[in-house]
Amino acid sequence: MRYGVSHVTRYSYSQPVTSCHNLAYVLPRNTRRQTCLSSEVVIDPLPHTSAERQDYFGNRVYHFSIQKPHHSLTVSANSVLDVNDYTDWPVVDLSNTCEQARNSLMNQLSTETLLAREFILDSPLVPQLDNVKDYVAPLFPSNKPLLSAVKELTEKIYDEFTYDSVFSDVTTPLSDVFAHKRGVCQDFAHFAIACIRAMGFPARYISGYIETEPPPGQQAMVGAAESHAWFAVYSPGEGWFGFDPTNDKVAGNQHIVTAWGRDYSDVPPMKGVIYGGGSQHQLNVSVNVARMEIY
């Protein structure tokens, strides 16, 4: 599937910002199933310095700074990508069992598995939660295939948690999300990650987009016209697999990946420091994902 994605972030300040140093995770990375054909960032006002680099996780991060006073800042990212559906999606029921996966993680010395162990560790926004083990352990008996268990976890979160765009913000602790079972896609992804890590498996956070227009006959997905977030789990020897607890879906060819990390804090769409700007500001984000014909 070919998509055109446009992601526009606009800040308006009540007082001029005299200068800023920012970075943006808005350029989609390539993945096993996704190829970024073209992409660009346009910043208004024109930045004094800008540079793109690859970060620790292989994501594309765009640094820029502006040194003259400005009342607003617009960051527009436009990309064209091809996204393929899984061709190698394992029959989940035949994947590693939880026990096999755990043994491999502990004993296997393949580079991929060793490096994946980083994603079992706590991360800044996904600490160990009390009681989460009790909540999730019944889904992960040792003889059950790991991916089936994760799929059920995805369903469970979809069923039990309420999508609520006013309940949480970036500062809401994950324990509150768990306690009230409410939140948005970022919260659900973080919570799923916490569950999987509590069981001793690697899970990472994925930031991206979801296709806006539903194909005929299918219902629109939540997260449309916004940046979206989901997670992936690692099964030793089999690789990483994405699941979307907000939509109870396997992340397929309607999920467009921008970046991944341990959690949101590794890959926020925008981050930085401003001088000035007054006490009031407005933030507008618009995302457009359009299916493109391939000629």
Binding site: C20, H21, H48, Y56, Q67, L114, L115, C185, K271, L283
Partner: protein, 840 residues
């Protein structure tokens, strides 16, 4: 003479360096101890006292982070740790090897991570550590040596071998204190020092300087700065000391800004590009854009500048990952991997709780161990499990069970002991040695000796300055005197610092130092004269007393009508007392002096040793002021206390006048003084000249107070005779260009100094600050002095009153203009907000 060492009798089961010396050291210890002993108990105590005084004069302090932020004089014990140069050369090789190994670990960690990929070190050990900064991945500069500085803490264990307890790799502290210790020892025990053939420290610092310069080979004469968290930091003294010694800028993060991809000092004139940072700010605080976002110690954008190779930072960001003590549990394997051999120097036996086998070992007998968190902060500490209460013990064990990967257990060792001088004579205390390595010519140069730190109680190996331990010099003793290449002081001197490009923060602190100095001085003098009058034997009329007291208490209105005279006096005295001693009251003597001292602490590098000593004395007096006045104020010895402080003020002005280079710094200091003096003189004129008292006789008493306060009585009398007249006083204090206390005199100097500021000679436009001064001149000159009546009459001195008040406003405006033009207004960096997950 009593031989104090004859009575030194450390516990037999402890290894004491002086009593059971290492091979070849017996004769050296004997020489040292008998020389010290030969001084006699009294003289030794005297020398110890002298060392304390010298350290204090140098401003050698250390802050202990407890609730009171206690600032202590750096504690130095006069008995050094002696180490034979033969033994030292082995230690040195071991330290070089270790620094090389840690350099390789650093490069691997932020490069290909072979240690993880090859299964040599478990990934969690490195990746769960908070010192591992993912943003530093792939950012190390090219070149073999990335780790510029490496320090270790070591001790001599029971078998006589040195054993390493910990590595310090991000901003190792203490090298400057070691240098200070050495300079004090040299002053206090010169002959002993000369005859002992002690290896010198200077060449280590030369190497440090050369290495930092060589980090930017393309820059011809690079600008190097020491980045300090500021005067509140525990080791700020050392930051100032090193910056001065090495001839580097001393900067705080607010002095720096990132522009056009480079780091610049915000200075009073041209921007100065910084090429190399010797940082004393911990990694995670260095850049709020990418690291700890609420850090106020960081420079926004610094990481990206470093990444692009536009600044070299020593040690590079991310080095904190090497301070992980869990590495010690895997060092043999790591050394095998990189070197194919084991290390020369042992490390303390360490178990990493993230390894299930190690964890089990630790949990079996926890009391045998010292538990350390793998990531060190000011909130964490090492814990001797044997000393724990049952509750503490459980608390720690449950933390370990929850986050095993964040803890290590280490064998409890007893370090060797050394004699320490105390009130009772000598006691035996455990010692640790912190060594210093700096990258140099493809390997590392080791400081000969290092900083010896002394434990507070016997046997403990938990020795930290934060626990209040003190220090010793470390003497590496050569059999032959060392052939020295003389270090030419100017080579390490201040030649690099361009006094024109003063950092704005420094200029601002010098300016305010001048203002506070003058403010405190003026208040002290006024207080002295007024109290003298009011408490004089012959009582003054009430109205006069009120006017005089009001000139001191100023805005404070004590409603006099409801009080009888005694009550009024009592309350006024309480007010006066408060104005002297209350540190929280703006404008009080104590508050002005403390403010001045705070400014001084920011600009210490501009003050001579004498000035520093005077400031210390003033500080002492102010701290005791409350105490020395409280019982007798305003009578008795009050005047003496005020006199002592006034003497201090004169001394500090004189000392600065004599010793400070006439660069921009001095002009800012002097502008501060002159502006404040102008403001004070005009204020006094208003409060003491503009009130009509019932009789001319009383007026004259008030006038006399004024003239005495500004120290002009004798010059007045020389010029105008003994009779005080309003006209002559105005003439003398406003218009006399020869009177160094007159307002016009201040204006002339302010005008001259403004012209000396950067860019002013070439700038033809009259700047706002100068315009204010020119306006003040014309106001003062418009006074028609001969028309002023000698007698106060109906219109009062309303015209002159207005002028004096306008002049004061203009002086304040001058100060404001200087502030906005030159001084670093602290830009408050805010996070770009992302408070909502998603926004419509």
């Amino acid at each position: 003479m009593q031989d104090i060492f004859a009575q030194y009798n450390p516990a037999a089961d402890l290894r004491d360096e002086a009593v059971n010396p290492s091979p070849g050291m017996g004769v050296h210890w004997h020489y040292l101890l008998s020389s010290l002993s030969g001084l006699g108990e009294h003289e030794l105590a005297e020398r110890q006292q002298r060392a304390y005084r010298l350290l204090r004069e140098d401003g050698a302090k250390y802050t202990i982070y407890n609730q009171a932020q206690q600032e202590k004089i750096w504690p130095l014990d006069l008995i050094p740790w002696l180490i034979h140069s033969h033994e030292w050369s082995l230690i040195e090789q071991g330290l070089q090897e270790r620094a090389e190994l840690f350099n390789l670990i650093l490069r691997d960690l932020y490069g290909s991570r072979e240690l993880i990929k090859r299964g040599i070190v478990p990934p969690e050990l490195l990746l769960a550590h908070k010192g591992f900064i993912r943003g530093c991945d792939g950012t190390l500069a090219a070149g073999q040596q990335q780790l510029i500085l490496h320090s270790v803490d070591m001790m001599r264990s029971h078998n006589g071998e040195m054993c390493i307890l910990a590595d310090r790799t991000q901003a190792p502290s203490g090298a400057g204190y070691a240098l200070e210790n050495r300079s004090i020892m040299w002053k206090v025990l010169p002959s002993l020092f000369r005859e002992s053939h002690v290896h010198q420290l200077a060449s280590f610092f030369q190497s440090l300087r050369h290495t930092l310069i060589s980090l930017v080979p393309d820059v011809k004469s690079p600008h190097i700065a020491v980045l300090t968290p500021g005067p509140l930091n525990e080791t700020y003294f050392e930051h100032v000391y090193l910056a001065n010694y090495l001839g580097f800028y001393l900067v705080q993060s607010s002095d720096l800004q990132v522009n056009d991809g480079y780091v610049w000092i915000k200075s009073i004139s041209n921007r100065v590009k910084i090429d190399v940072l010797l940082r004393r700010v911990d990694d995670r605080f260095c850049d709020p854009v990418e690291l700890k976002s609420d850090s106020e110690l960081g420079v926004p954008g610094l990481m990206q500048v470093a990444r692009e190779g536009n600044i070299a930072i020593a040690n590079p960001l991310g080095s904190a990952a090497l301070e992980n003590p869990a590495l010690l549990a895997y060092l043999p394997q790591i050394s095998q991997h990189f070197f194919g051999r084991s290390l020369k120097l042992d490390s303390v036996n360490t178990w990493w709780c993230g390894n299930p086998d190690h964890l089990q070992h630790v949990l079996q007998q926890p009391d045998k161990f010292i538990i350390k968190p793998t990531f060190r902060t000011h909130q964490t500490s090492s814990i001797n499990m044997a000393d724990c209460s049952e509750m503490e013990r459980e608390n720690i064990l449950s933390k370990i069970r929850k986050h095993a990967e964040h803890y290590v257990a280490q064998e409890r060792l007893t370090p060797s002991h050394l004699p320490v001088i105390d009130q009772q004579g000598l006691t035996s205390r455990p010692v640790l040695l912190r060594s210093y390595a700096v990258a140099s010519e493809a390997s590392y140069r080791i400081m000969p000796g290092g900083l010896t730190r002394v434990g507070l109680k016997q046997r403990t190996s938990l020795i930290a300055n934060q626990l209040g331990s003190f220090s010793k010099d470390t003497w590496v003793i050569a059999s032959e005197p060392e052939i020295l290449t003389p270090v030419i002081e100017t080579e390490l001197g201040l030649d690099q610092i361009d006094t024109v490009n003063l950092p704005s923060r420094v200029a601002e602190n010098l300016f305010w130092m001048g203002r506070y100095l003058e403010r405190a001085d003026s208040m002290l003098r006024l207080m002295r004269v007024v109290l003298n009058q009011v408490t004089a034997a012959s009582p003054l009329p009430d109205q006069l007393v009120m006017v005089l007291l009001k000139s001191v208490t100023r805005k404070i209105n004590i409603s006099s009508n409801r009080l009888n005279k005694n009550e009024y006096l009592q309350q006024s005295f309480e007010e006066c007392f408060d104005i002297l001693v209350n540190p929280d009251r703006t404008g009080s003597v104590t508050s002005s002096i403390y403010s001045m001292i705070r400014c001084v602490s920011e600009v210490r590098e501009f003050l001579s040793a004498d000035s520093q000593r005077i400031i210390n004395d003033i500080n002492d007096q102010v701290m005791l002021l409350d105490h020395s006045l409280v019982n007798t104020f305003p009578y008795g010895k009050s005047e003496e206390s005020l006199n002592a402080l006034i003497t201090g003020m004169i001394a500090i002005s004189g000392s600065i006048q004599e010793s400070m280079t006439r660069g921009s710094g001095w002009y800012f200091f002097s502008l501060g003084r002159k502006i404040e003096r102008g403001i004070q003189t005009t204020t006094l004129l208003e409060s003491l000249m503009m009130t009509n008292l019932n009789s001319q006789e009383h007026n004259i008493v008030a006038w006399e107070v004024l003239v005495k306060t500004v120290e002009s009585l004798s010059s007045y009398r020389r010029l105008y005779g003994t009779q005080l007249s309003a006209r002559n006083i105005f003439k003398h204090l406003l218009l006399d260009v020869a009177n160094p206390r007159s307002v016009i005199y201040q204006l002339e100097l302010i005008q001259r100094y403004l012209g000396k500021l950067p860019q002013r000679q070439i700038d033809l436009v009259v700047k706002d600050d100068l315009q204010c001064v020119l306006d003040a001149f014309s106001l003062i000159r418009s006074i028609e002095i001969e028309n002023i009546s000698h007698e106060y009459h109906v219109t009062g001195y309303s015209e002159i009153n207005r002028i004096v008040s306008d002049v004061r406003q203009l002086l304040k405006k001058t100060s404001n203009h200087l502030t906005s033009e030159f001084f670093a207004r602290k830009n408050v960096a805010k996070q770009l907000v992302n408070e909502r997950w998603s926004v419509d």
